[in-house]
Symmetry: C2
Subunit: 611 residues, 2 copies
Amino acid sequence: MPQSYRAPLRDMQFVLKELARIDEVAKLPGFEEASDVADAILEEAAVFASEVLDPLNVSGDKEGCTWRDGEVTTPKGFKEAYRQFARAGWIGLPVPSEYGGQGLPQLMVGPTHEMWNAANVGFANAPGLNQNAIETLELTGSDEQKQRYIPKLVSGEWTGTMNLTEPQAGSDLAAVRTKATPEGDHYRISGSKIFITFGEHDLAANIVHLVLARLPDAPEGTKGISMFVVPKFLVNADGSLGERNDVHCASIEHKLGINGNPTCTMNYGEKSGGAIGYLVGQPHRGMEYMFIMMNAARYGVGVQSIGIADRAYQSALAFAKERVQGRDLKDLASRSAAPVTIVHHPDVRRMLMSMKAQIEAMRALAYVTAASLDHANRHPDEKVRAEHRAFIELMTPVVKGWSTDTAIEICSTALQVFGGMGYIEETGIAQQYRDVRITAIYEGTTGIQALDLVGRKLLRDMGKTAMRVIGEIKAFAATLESSSNADVRAIREQLLKGLDALVAASQSIGKSATSDLPASMACSVPYLKLWGIVAGGWQMARAAAIAEQKLAANDVEAEFYKTKLATARFYADHVLSQAAWLRHQIVEGSASVMTVTENEFDLDRKVMTPA
Amino acid sequence: MPQSYRAPLRDMQFVLKELARIDEVAKLPGFEEASDVADAILEEAAVFASEVLDPLNVSGDKEGCTWRDGEVTTPKGFKEAYRQFARAGWIGLPVPSEYGGQGLPQLMVGPTHEMWNAANVGFANAPGLNQNAIETLELTGSDEQKQRYIPKLVSGEWTGTMNLTEPQAGSDLAAVRTKATPEGDHYRISGSKIFITFGEHDLAANIVHLVLARLPDAPEGTKGISMFVVPKFLVNADGSLGERNDVHCASIEHKLGINGNPTCTMNYGEKSGGAIGYLVGQPHRGMEYMFIMMNAARYGVGVQSIGIADRAYQSALAFAKERVQGRDLKDLASRSAAPVTIVHHPDVRRMLMSMKAQIEAMRALAYVTAASLDHANRHPDEKVRAEHRAFIELMTPVVKGWSTDTAIEICSTALQVFGGMGYIEETGIAQQYRDVRITAIYEGTTGIQALDLVGRKLLRDMGKTAMRVIGEIKAFAATLESSSNADVRAIREQLLKGLDALVAASQSIGKSATSDLPASMACSVPYLKLWGIVAGGWQMARAAAIAEQKLAANDVEAEFYKTKLATARFYADHVLSQAAWLRHQIVEGSASVMTVTENEFDLDRKVMTPA
């Protein structure tokens, strides 16, 4: 039977307090109590994740969702779990109290979102979409729209969706064709959307679709896209549900994983002159608005992948401590030595350390980014707010792209620890391997994240933000110079090498961007990865420095801090040390990416030359 | 619909002729015609793979195998395909003609095995097991056993299996408990084996199980294991089938992939005093014999993974040339530029090149190793034979471990090229992602391969073979010094760096082996990977040198050789360039693998400290 989920509470608490500095967040207006309630929230969330969501993870995957005549049934237990989730107030965690939310910092979304997704990713996508829809409407909707939709999304009576993708417009939203025709105070929406998570389901009474479509006079491309809210059931003036709108689920996908949630093809206006929709914000600014939702969603997917990876790691660790196989290498000379659990074997230990170190680095970077969001939203000084905004913009594609790619590797490593048992579905780890694979794809593939990082974040401001952040990390590294701890010094050395690589890679990309844009973009993914491992390494180095201080002060949790230091050292030697390789790929290898032409790729499969 | 498989015939031919040097193999006694018939065999195999096996790949995965009352039904069409496969003589390809085989070199097993597995891995495991059983019996069986079993395994009337694993003895065969009790001219076998591929099925009239078990007087550990042949139906003196033996399939596994083949739990002697089995070779030497089979099987799994990876790459390439999405970066300035196929996008191109380059390197190393097997078997000079044997022993864990790990990455990259479509099972690429995952597990996980590489191949002869092979690669690199081609020079530079890393890593492991064995083994997997990328880089460098010559001589296939050179350059810049990272992990990072103790791994999940 699969291992049940236990939240990594101590590490979450460490990151919240020591790295993301919840005490600083608590100084922001409105967040005065955040620091005091943080522990209690973590504990409650952990219980909810383990007791309510986790027991439905395997059954949700096995049973999956079913479609019949446009209705979608979610797996057994999901409906009741959703009701409990909503009732406990988890959806509204970061939502202002005026809409019925708890008004907590975004920082708290990090660990809670991680727990929901670790416990049951198929389920967690539902409330995750509510949070994204709430945020988008809060920032772009009219007062009336906010009042109409947000409280119901917070209470969980309704759920939200994002409707972007069309068959011909996957990553390229400029190609969106869904039409919106004005009619009185509303619009008629017609067209088809695919890959809509929870587009139809039985969890809640109504579904609030946020839909990208084009007005009749819309310019071509992304500047002609508007955003509409299209409820499954129209909402009467008194807030009660009215007529069924003409938005229907035509089918659901048969997927590799995340079978707990339906992935829907949605048809708008197929049975009538169009589904009734309401314009959100200004015409033609839909992409801009959708990016608000998308950025939150991208961050959320990054954290989701960390949760799945941590669950996989946890299962692998438990298996490694239980599975007896082979003898300890130290006892090799003695043939009569008893067999040991596989956690004794160095290669298994290496796999466990590699998972542990990378998860801790990703978690730290993700939560630190969440704290930045709070400062960006609430800090009294606009200059500080702007700096945090720039940091978040730089880090969002990194948290999404780097975490998801790494999480996929981690789930594969976890499966490997199980050996043959890992390939058997009953063991459970194969589900994480299947589930996690979507995270590097939806809300923009890693390639799209890297394009965003290089195009919008590095090149657009001529590297200003990138160099500022690199400077900040360098300044921190300088503070480690005085350490006499060998681990800290080794970590610092790898961090400095990572920073050098990042500077060289950034400059190389910047230089070639003006002369050969395709070449400058050819290694955008290795560049994103370089940012990930260095920014993650920065957090691990910060953790190591804190650990060094705590150990010097004879902290009661010496074992915890000693482990943190050892984990950071492992990260430096085994993960951060790849910076030079990534730099080589970017600086020296970009040219060799584009030399083989489209047709030349087929020469290997050509008819053979005569003997 | 999934892309159908087209064998990479031109590249296979290139590797056979230019790198594995089939002309040299054809000088060995009995292989005189190998070179002349090679092209015809490749072409026929390609047709068979595409027309007979490929059409059953998706349906075999979907339908899977079913178990009922001990009988196993394979997916629709498998039985007829197996009959055709056998009739065409493919099982006996490398088997001496005295047993009804074609007597071709092992070298030809490389490309044919690759094609079968690319076309349908679930199916290909059946005849692959026949070949392994044939080889084992040929080398270790009595004359009577050879005459009794081999011709039927060659003709395909019967199939073979390997019965090693038991629940408590996965990678650790020392823990095998199945018993063999002498009774007249045979033995009574009782015990349970798990994970037996094609342990039971409906493809053939009889199944020849090779089973590891212990005699009553057997010493503990691996030195007390004997090998038995246990037929499903006993064989009468005239070769006809007799009584049903007491070996039964208790269940089949529900797996992540390779659903086309049943993975069986086999019970021996559950209904009687034991299944009737016959000792193969000498008592207590079963492990030694099984290693013959296992080494062939390990090599076979390496090639299998290359086949699956190539199929995935091929699908991704076809999709990239078909899928229209986004605009060419070169046309970014012009807003009216038409959308292009995604093969135009640099990141997609990088993914394709990364798959192509690694597949070609793995294929080259695998076929070169197969050629070495022929020289080891047949070269008139024992000194040459011994050198080839040592080379094969060194390369077997590398071909297995490196190819399978890389193939898993490649299938993930291929899925990524498909974006959201890749996550939908109907597209087909998810099957390769699921199927390929087993290859790094069965016939010994990558960790086991690495243990073999470091323990048996590097340390046992004090690095003699490793250093000889490194010397050979260095001598080859020296021949590139005079090249004025910038690509060849860049490749040479990375190859030399790779060799330096390999020397440093080998020495570091050798040194710590005497003082701290666990630490010396801690990075055995990165060490295996280093061998893989360097040995693969050696083959790519050889290919580049040949391409340079061909281009200088105005070869009619200039485009093919130009592409080969560009691919080798990509490999050097993006793959081989990671050598320094792997070296760092091994030399500097081995110590940090074992510092966190077993209990300390759980500190992250500890109850939190009070706020």
